[in-house]
């Protein structure tokens, strides 16, 4: 489903050119639940951004299903993000001036869906995540855990086939973490492909993951042999 081959990602940080991903290869099958672990700066978030088409590779090749998307133009990548991916950011990235339900429904807005339908779909998700009472709160009025759940709801609003979660359990309390783990478990049950990153593999997620890959200096350790051979 997702295949990266000898992918390198470099970016400029001030005057220094940083190699965030270094000749990295990876294959993730449909319905797999994959954990990426590693210290800060190891390339976990960059890898998630590349997979989620939020960032372009510097060299190498990247397939999504049968399509090589490495050199897709911007509007194709935007369409992929809209239709196939749900992204849960580490910092939640909710828009402060918007209410919770408006944030959740944002991906639907440019699709021409009416406000009534958008709100209906957002409310259903918020109910599943026990956030319906916060639907009309502004995003900055929510607690960390509530913001995380709202971010998850937003990632799921388009019913994407691939969920990417950057540090989904960081900065939230145990109770909220339990809810998030339950949601991810449910998504796995529904056959979604899930890739998440974390400094270490959280105990709560250990039973869910199919594979854990360790990131270090832009490389992956514990890569399955079939991906490494390509």
């Amino acid at each position: 489903m997702i295949r990266l081959e000898k992918v390198t990602k470099k970016y400029r940080s001030g005057k220094v050119m940083v190699k965030a991903l270094d000749d990295l290869s990876l294959e993730v099958k449909k319905g797999e639940f994959v954990g990426l672990t590693g210290p800060s700066g190891s390339g976990k978030t960059t890898l998630l951004n590349i997979i989620g088409c939020l960032s372009r590779i510097t060299s190498g090749r990247f397939w999504l299903g049968d399509e090589e998307v490495s050199h897709y133009p911007d509007h194709f990548l935007a369409a992929l993000r809209r239709e196939r991916f749900g992204f849960i950011f580490q910092q939640f990235n909710l828009l402060a001036g918007y209410t919770t339900w408006e944030n959740v429904a944002l991906p639907l807005l440019p699709m021409g869906i009416s406000e009534k339908v958008r709100k209906g779909r957002a409310m259903r998700l918020l109910e599943e995540l026990h956030l319906e009472t916060r639907a009309n709160f502004l995003a900055n009025e929510l607690s960390g855990g509530e913001q995380q759940r709202a971010a998850i709801a937003r990632a799921l609003i388009n019913d994407p086939e691939i969920i990417l979660a950057d540090e989904p359990l960081s900065g939230i309390d145990g109770k909220c973490a339990g809810i998030v783990v339950a949601i991810l478990g449910d998504l796995k049950e529904r056959g979604k492909t899930i890739i998440f990153s974390s400094h270490e593999l959280p105990t709560a997620l250990a039973t869910l993951v199919d594979r854990t890959l360790a990131c270090e200096a832009g490389k992956l350790l514990g890569v399955p042999p079939q991906a490494a051979r390509r």
């Binding site: 372009r56 402060a96 001036g97």
Partner: protein, 396 residues
């Protein structure tokens, strides 16, 4: 074409004005104030130019003044017969006029007493329309006057009232008011007291063979320049002014080429550009992050630019519309505080409200000035941020 996505984007843009109301107000209030001044300037300019056009009904095709040592002097009526023989001539009308300082009535205010030879006078067919009430003078009238709206207001005079006037030397006269000019031509007529040639001569002490100037009417207006040139050649000691030149003088004084108008307009333009610049440089971390998040959620760059442009358009449109309404209301209230400055030397005449005229080109120009730069400038930073990778925009 599916318009539903666009409607959603426009509604979101409109809602953003409310969401970010502090930012919206910070742009809208100064823009509104600038546009209010600009609207007032445009409407007032339009009013002056329109009145200059209307006042043409008062103007002869040519005015001939006597000159001595380069200064305007009385003109001898001896030249009238020779002027009357020039081809295309219709009528030559002697006129006597002078100023009446009315210190006792109103400090630093002068009126103009003007005497016309009603047996020779030629009037535009629109002349009756220039009167608000009463009638104009007819040949043989003595002791009667038609008043400008400012004079009538100062003296609280109405038709059939008696009007007493006096000059600084103590010359006195008393007249019956037979008509009052319309305020639509107040720029020209506000200070006028029009009477018969004989009454004006008597008041100012002119001899029967003298006049202040001659009003020349030709049979074909397009021949006015040719006739004026002939008079200049025949009588080098005269100053010859065509009606067209006088109208243009007023028009130009208040047109886009008018100095005061140009200066104020330039300042307003710079202020709008400053506002636009402030709006453009508002591309800060928050906005960059917002654009990055929207891109990450699958929004196309074009959709983001469309929404941001619509936001700025609505901001500019609302600010401009509010400004124009404020400017219009200010004008309706009689431009308190500003009319004295704007009328300049006209303040020695009786006070009158600034004439205003609101037409489509003026409104279009105001909206272009207020809305277009604001909308266009928002597209550039939105496009610049929209074309970079979402994660870069979010991390900025």
């Amino acid at each position: 074409m599916n318009i539903a996505p666009h409607i959603n984007l426009w509604l979101m843009a409109a809602a953003n004005l409310r969401r970010y109301r502090a930012k919206s107000i910070a742009v809208m209030v100064p823009l509104g104030l600038v546009m209010a001044v600009a609207a007032f300037m445009m409407f007032a300019r339009g009013g002056f130019v329109r009145e200059a056009g209307l006042a043409r009904v008062f103007l002869p095709h040519i005015t001939v003044q006597g000159v001595a040592a380069g200064r305007v002097e009385k003109i001898s009526l001896g030249v009238m017969d020779r002027i009357a023989k020039i081809p295309h001539m219709r009528s030559v009308v002697p006129r006597v006029w002078g100023y009446l300082p009315m210190q006792l009535k109103e400090a630093n205010v002068s009126y103009t007493l003007m005497g016309l030879d009603m047996t020779r006078a030629v009037y535009d067919e629109k002349m009756p329309w220039t009167l608000a009430t009463g009638t104009f003078l007819v040949p043989g009238d003595r002791g009667k006057v038609v008043l400008g709206s400012g004079v009538a207001r100062s003296f609280a005079a109405r038709v059939n009232d008696r009007l007493k006037i006096a000059d600084a030397l103590g010359n006195k006269a008393e007249f019956t008011v037979v008509g009052i000019f319309n305020t639509a031509v107040q720029v020209y007529s506000t200070d006028l007291i029009v009477t018969s040639l004989e009454d004006a001569r008597s008041f100012f002490g002119y001899r029967r063979d003298e006049a202040s100037d001659l009003l020349v009417y030709v049979d074909r207006p397009e021949k006015a320049d040719e006739v004026a040139w002939t008079i200049t050649n025949l009588f080098p000691n005269t100053r010859v002014l065509t009606g067209k030149a006088l109208t243009e003088l007023v028009r130009e004084a208040f047109s886009r080429r008018g100095g005061t108008f140009q200066m104020v307009w330039l300042i307003l333009l710079l202020t709008v550009l400053l506002l636009v610049w402030a709006q453009a440089s508002h591309i800060n971390v928050d906005l960059s992050r917002e654009i990055g998040v929207l891109k990450a959620l699958g929004w196309h760059t074009g959709e983001i630019i469309e929404m941001k442009m619509m936001e700025s358009f609505l901001l500019g449109f609302t600010g401009t519309l509010s400004g124009i309404l404020v400017g219009f209301i200010y004008v309706l209230l009689g431009t308190p505080g500003l009319s004295g400055y704007c009328l300049g030397c006209a303040s020695i005449y009786p006070k009158y409200p600034i004439p205003v005229d609101c037409d489509f080109p003026s409104l279009a120009l105001l909206f272009i000035l207020g809305v277009l730069p604001m909308t266009a400038v928002s597209a550039i930073p939105a496009w610049l941020t929209g074309t970079i990778d979402p994660d870069t925009a979010i991390r900025r």
